[in-house]
Symmetry: C4
């Protein structure tokens, strides 16, 4: 199992999941009120679509940044990756669930948003597991230096913390919970990439450096 195939397969699954998000947008039907009113009433669907779109987009970016460093693929990594994709594929479902309840049943929107947070948490935990797997010597082209590990681990685990917070906030205010997910995606896009002492980002060190284990 070569790394190129792991990447191609994961890319494919994420690309399909991100595109399926739009399948759950309700096309307003004539005779149920003004078109603009109907579109406006479904605002949670559009907000949920944008948040989930960027969340999946960031997962794709981060998945590649991590996998590009990996030197060899084993069965454990394949399994972790499948579990990650299992949650990725559930995102359109959880998005639709959450948007439906935000729109039509505010009373249970907290539960629906909590389910959404659980799916995101599952994805973040799988991603952290992939990161931990990659720390053992020989599994990546460059060994993350000890002083980089804290930063890198923090950056990776921010997702697991934030989505846990989202889960709790869901029971206080579902829209604020959704906003937290949105801000997290934006954070990851512009978060500073960890760099080594020479100022080279770890993501650019994709080829085995001479003298490195």
């Amino acid at each position: 199992m070569s790394k190129a195939r792991l990447e191609a397969f994961s890319d494919g699954v994420i690309a399909i999941a991100i595109t399926l998000l739009a399948l759950d947008l309700t096309v307003p039907q004539p005779g149920h009120g003004m078109l603009l009113t109907q579109l406006g009433d479904h605002w949670p669907q559009f907000a949920a679509y944008v948040v989930s779109f960027f969340t999946l987009g960031i997962i794709w970016v981060n998945h590649h940044a991590r996998v590009s460093l990996i030197a060899r693929v084993d069965r454990t990594l394949l399994f972790i990756n499948l579990v990650l994709l299992l949650f990725v594929v559930l995102i359109p479902f959880a998005t639709s669930l959450m948007a439906t309840y935000l729109t039509s049943a505010p009373k249970e929107a907290d539960t629906a948003m909590a389910v959404y947070a659980v799916v995101l948490e599952g994805m973040a935990v799988s991603f952290s597991a992939m990161f931990e797997w990659s720390l053992r010597e020989g599994r990546t082209y460059v060994t993350v230096p000890i002083d980089q590990r804290r930063t890198a681990r923090l950056r990776t685990s921010i997702g697991t913390i934030v989505y846990a917070v989202m889960f709790v906030v869901a029971f206080i205010s579902p829209p604020i919970s959704l906003a937290i997910a949105g801000f997290t995606a934006v954070y990851y896009i512009f978060a500073p990439v960890p760099r080594n002492a020479a100022g080279v980002s770890l993501e650019e060190l994709q080829e085995p450096a001479s003298g490195q284990p």
Copy 2:
């Protein structure tokens, strides 16, 4: 994040969006009138399908022509590209919306066509932003010469102008507005590719030329 992955992911998303267009074609049901009559009544769906299909096809062609010139990928480009894909993925939804109202609710077809124009405009503006990003020295293999920039920028921004016109025309005649989108796709297919003084199309200059910055 290598360029190859940016291309593969974008290709995947565009390929899926273009195929999902056909999911919104209504399969006539027995017992609701003659089959051919039903198919005929749904002509706006087929017209909308063809226009959106070629629009997405052209975006795919132009996206590649542009990305092939790019020398390095940064976070800003990734973000612009995600925004572009966000609108690409909305096209099947907007196509279905517009076709539904053209078929069954002519009174509000203007609003529905305007929503379609907004989605196309969002896509065109994102694409122009990607072009502007690529102009700064060092970001592409070849620097677009000053005398080429006007042509290239005009060619890129034609979409943003045309879809704005489409938006206005939507309120006068939705079918003419749709026809404008169709002609734009055909224009882009056969539009002359900008060439440099040596007669080489910029799209063919994908490898760094020696002596070039």
Copy 3:
């Protein structure tokens, strides 16, 4: 626009279309009769699924065999390829239409089967257009020799003839018309590949031979 991207995009669209075929299989619902009876009543769906699946599979095989010979991609080829994909993407729709009427409205099954034949004919004609485009000197790595052209053209155009026959037979017996499409797919799988005088199949000559134009 490199050939590799043309192939990757076309592959993606065909792979998605072939997978979407199964979305139109009706999942029997409890309370509408015995499960096996319901599955049996929907036999035309399964027959249609198998025929369309192999038809798309063969188009994928033949598309690659042809494109692998192409030396350069121009705007005309891109356009022909988009038209080919336009029909490919319509196949799940036409399959669903035809299966629905074969199952529930035998009276109009002839019209539905004729629509299916029209979509297949559009695909076959686009494919023949791609073949004709490829005949001009310099467009392919190997020029098809004059004595090979007749065989190659015949092999390519068999689809256009057979699907025209299918269209006519649809009005006599829709199931026989469907069977013709099935036999055509099987024929293409096992049809002898045209070979040149040296016994090398044209499909294997993918690299420019020295001394060839």
Copy 4:
């Protein structure tokens, strides 16, 4: 037809099928009872989703391990591969069918589970056929040694045996039958990869070894 394309196309189809699994998860609707109750009532859908997800994931892993060894692609292999994909694409349909009857019509859940087993069996038999095809000299980079064949064949054919057992158990206890499919997927993930005398796994021998036929 190059091997790379066979792999890319198969990857695409499997990635799409695995993502479509989640399309069949029912989004609970407000007004039909408590959200958590509804989600709980649909537990067979989630169990079925997880089992089918890992089953497809494993098929993807094993498909690649096998194809990576193949030295040349012929029409027979293409045909076997298309039949394999035909069953792969049916898995979301069979999963949905089985989950629907497990949830709402326990009386006929046995038949539904048997249909699911038939689809998995079809997939496993196609995969075994691909393995048998690959045994003839010259078709793979490394000839599987005689003493490895029994192990390799056993490993490949475990699926065909297990899914036959699943079929029988479906009529005794559908949930146990589903659990068998789940355990099979987990088995394949962690099953020891067959190795040759030198301790090199056959899957790693992807390049033609010197002196090998």
